[in-house]
Symmetry: C2
Subunit: 367 residues, 2 copies
C-alpha cells in the first residue's frame, strides 16, 4: 500500500475531478469537493453522517440510495439532491454513469456490506463502508480484492480515529505516558430495543459483538498498536429473552497481545457501557464515555494523582473528519488510516471470539 499508481489515484474520480485533480499537489486543497453517495438511509446515515457534510472541507453529499421512495424524496429535498442522483437498489449499478459520485458510503445492515461495497468498486467508485466491515473474514477479503482490482480506495467507518480524545489516548498510551501498558479494559454495550435488524442474524451476522462490541475490540487494537495473538471469550445469552432468538447478548473476552498486554473487553446488548482504560506501570488513562457521537471525557492518573484532561473544541467533528479524510486520500493518492485491512483485522478477531466462546477455550488468531 506504500506505493500508489496513477490509476489508483484517479480511479473512481469523475471526469471533472480528473482535471481538477491533475492540478492538485499533495497537501494542497482540492479544487472541488469529493462527491459521496450514501447507500442506506437509516438513522445512523440520516442523523449522524448526512448532517455532517456541512462541516466538511473536502467532501459533499451528491447522491442517495434507498429502497424507500419516501426517504429519497424527503432527504433528497432536504439536501438538494436532484432526482437524477437518487437511486433505488435496483438502479444501484447506474452510479457508474454518474461522474459526480466519487465515493459510495455503505451504511446498510452488516450482511449487505460486502455486496454493495463490491458492486460500488465494480462501478469504479471508491468505497467507504460502515463497521463491522462485513460478516465474515471471507467477505472482507473479497471486498479488499474487489477494490484492489478496480483500483479504488476502501475505507472502514472507524469514526473514533478522527475524534481528538481518542487520538490523544492513542498517543499517550503508545507513548508510555503512564509507563508501558500492562492491561486495558474496554467496555461497550447498550440495551437493545426489540424488533430491529440488529437482532436478526441474516441481516446483522451476529449480536452485540457485531455491533457495539467492535468498539471495545478496535479500541484495544488502536490503543496498543498491536494485533492480538489469541482470545478467550465467554458468551452469556438468555435465550428466553425474545430479543436474543438468533443473536448473542453479552460476550466478555480477553485479548492477549504480543508485548504481554492483555485487554479485558465487554460487549453487551443488555446493559450500558461506554469506556476504556489503559493501565500502565505508573497509572492509567481513562475515557468514559470513550466513543459516543460527542461528549468524550478523559482523566489521567499518574503518580497517585487523578486529573481530568480537557481538549479545546475541535474545529471539525469526528464525522466530518472521517468524510474529509477519505476525500483527502483520494485527492492526494494516499491510503486511508483505516483501510479495508483494518476491518479485516477486526473480523479475524471476531471470528476467533465466536469460536472461543463456542469451544470454551483460548483460540489463536491467525495473522
Amino acid at each position: 500500500m506504500a506505493t500508489t499508481s496513477r490509476r489508483e489515484i484517479l480511479g473512481g474520480l469523475g471526469a471533472g475531478m480528473v482535471l481538477a485533480g491533475m492540478a492538485t499537489r499533495a497537501g494542497a486543497a482540492p479544487a472541488r469537493k469529493i462527491g459521496y453517495a450514501i447507500v442506506g438511509l437509516g438513522s445512523y446515515a440520516t442523523r449522524q453522517i448526512m448532517p455532517n457534510f456541512a462541516g466538511c472541507e473536502h467532501a459533499r453529499l451528491v447522491a442517495l440510495v434507498s429502497g424507500t421512495p419516501a426517504k429519497l424524496d424527503q432527504y433528497g429535498a432536504q439536501y438538494g439532491i436532484a432526482a437524477t442522483h437518487r437511486y433505488s437498489y435496483a438502479d444501484f449499478d447506474r452510479i457508474r454513469d454518474n461522474p459526480d459520485i466519487d465515493v459510495v458510503y455503505v451504511v446498510l445492515p452488516n450482511s449487505m456490506h460486502a455486496e454493495y461495497s463490491i458492486r460500488a468498486a465494480q462501478a469504479g467508485k471508491h468505497v467507504m463502508c460502515e463497521k463491522p466491515m462485513a460478516v465474515s473474514v471471507a467477505e472482507c477479503e473479497a471486498m479488499i480484492a474487489a477494490c484492489r482490482k478496480a483500483g479504488t480506495k476502501l475505507m472502514i467507518g472507524y469514526r473514533s480515529r478522527f475524534e481528538p480524545y481518542n487520538r490523544l489516548a492513542i498517543e499517550l498510551a503508545r507513548g508510555g505516558h503512564v509507563g508501558p501498558t500492562r492491561l486495558i479494559t474496554a467496555e461497550h454495550g447498550f440495551p437493545a430495543r426489540p424488533d430491529q435488524w440488529r437482532l436478526d442474524r441474516p441481516l446483522s451476522g451476529g449480536g452485540s459483538m457485531m455491533d457495539i462490541g467492535i468498539y471495545s475490540l478496535n479500541a484495544a487494537r488502536y490503543l496498543t498498536g498491536e494485533e492480538p495473538v489469541s482470545v478467550s471469550a465467554v458468551e452469556t445469552t438468555d435465550k428466553a429473552d425474545p430479543r436474543f432468538k438468533t443473536v448473542e447478548d453479552r460476550i466478555s473476552f480477553l485479548l492477549r497481545f504480543p508485548s504481554g498486554i492483555v485487554a479485558n473487553c465487554i460487549s453487551s446488548y443488555s446493559s450500558s457501557h461506554n469506556g476504556y482504560r489503559v493501565i500502565g506501570t505508573q497509572g492509567w488513562i481513562d475515557m468514559e464515555p470513550a466513543t459516543p457521537y460527542q461528549g468524550q471525557s478523559m482523566s489521567i492518573r499518574k503518580d497517585g494523582v487523578t486529573t481530568p484532561r480537557t481538549l479545546p473544541p475541535a474545529a471539525k467533528n469526528q464525522f466530518a473528519g472521517q468524510l474529509d479524510h477519505m476525500a483527502e486520500c483520494i485527492v492526494n493518492g494516499t491510503t486511508p488510516i483505516v483501510p479495508g485491512e483494518e476491518g479485516l483485522a477486526d473480523m479475524r478477531v471476531i471470528e476467533a471470539i465466536y469460536r472461543s466462546a463456542a469451544e470454551r477455550r483460548e483460540v489463536a488468531i491467525r495473522a
Copy 2:
C-alpha cells in the same frame, strides 16, 4: 452450621469468660472483651490490625506471637502486653494454657496459615485467619476440619464485609437497584516491590492472585451472592522481571455465574487497580477505590444520570468491625459471616483460575 452446641459456644473461652458468658444472652453486650493473640508482626498486623483494637467494643489485644524478640519487646511495650503473654513460634503451643487468649489471629505468610490455624484450634482457641485462607483447597479443608473437631470458630479476614460502602454495594447489587446484574468488573493490583515474601512462592503460594487478586474474586462473589460455575483465565508474566521468578504477575479472569452474570476480573502485580462496577440492566454501581483501608468512593448511574453516593462516617472502621464480629460470634454462639467455608470457596476458584490459565481453556469449578 445453623445449630450451635454449648461446647461450640464455650470452646476456647477462658475460665473467666465461661462465667461471664453464662450470663450473656444473644444480643446483650458481653461482660468482658474477647482476647486476641496476634501471630505474625508484619506491617499489616502492626499498622492496620493492632491499632484498631482501640476502636473495638468487644475485642482486645492480649498476646503477641513473633519470631523476632525485638518486635515482641517493641509492640509488647507499646500495647502493654505482659512478658507472660509474648510468645515465640517455639512457644506457640503454650497459648493453650493462657485463659486470656480466646482467639488466635493468624497474619503470617500464606503458606503458614494452615499450620498455625490448626495448631491454634488444637490448643482450644478460636481462629481468625488472614486471606487467602491457605495455599490450597486441601489445606482449607484441613483447617475447617480441625476447628470443627476442636469446637472452635474459624473466620477469614475479609475486612470489606465490615466496610459500609461495600455492605451498601452488596445490598444495592443483590436488591436490583440498577436492575438485575448482567456484568461485573472487578480490578485489583499494585506494583509489587522486589524482595518480599509475597514474591517467594514457598511462602506466598502464588503471585498477585494469591494476594491482591483475591479482592476481585471475593467482590464478584459477594456482589452476586452466587458461586461461579466456571472460569476462563489468561496469565501474563514477564519472566525476565526479577520480581516474577517464582510467582505470576497478572491474571485476567472471567467468572461465569449460575444466573448468567459474568465477572471480568483483573489481578496485577505490575499496575495499580482498585475498583469494581456492578452493571445492571438500568445502570451501574461503581466503587473506586473499592477496598482500600479507608477512602472508599461510590457512584451510581441510573436512568442516564450519574450521582456520587456518600455515607456518613462509620462509628467503627472495617478493622474494628471485623475484630468485634468474631468476638460477638463467640459470645452469642453464632457463625461468622465469613467462615472458613468462605475462604475455601475462594480457594476452589483460585485453583480453577490457575488451571484455566495453564491449560488455556474454560475450567469448571466444583462446588
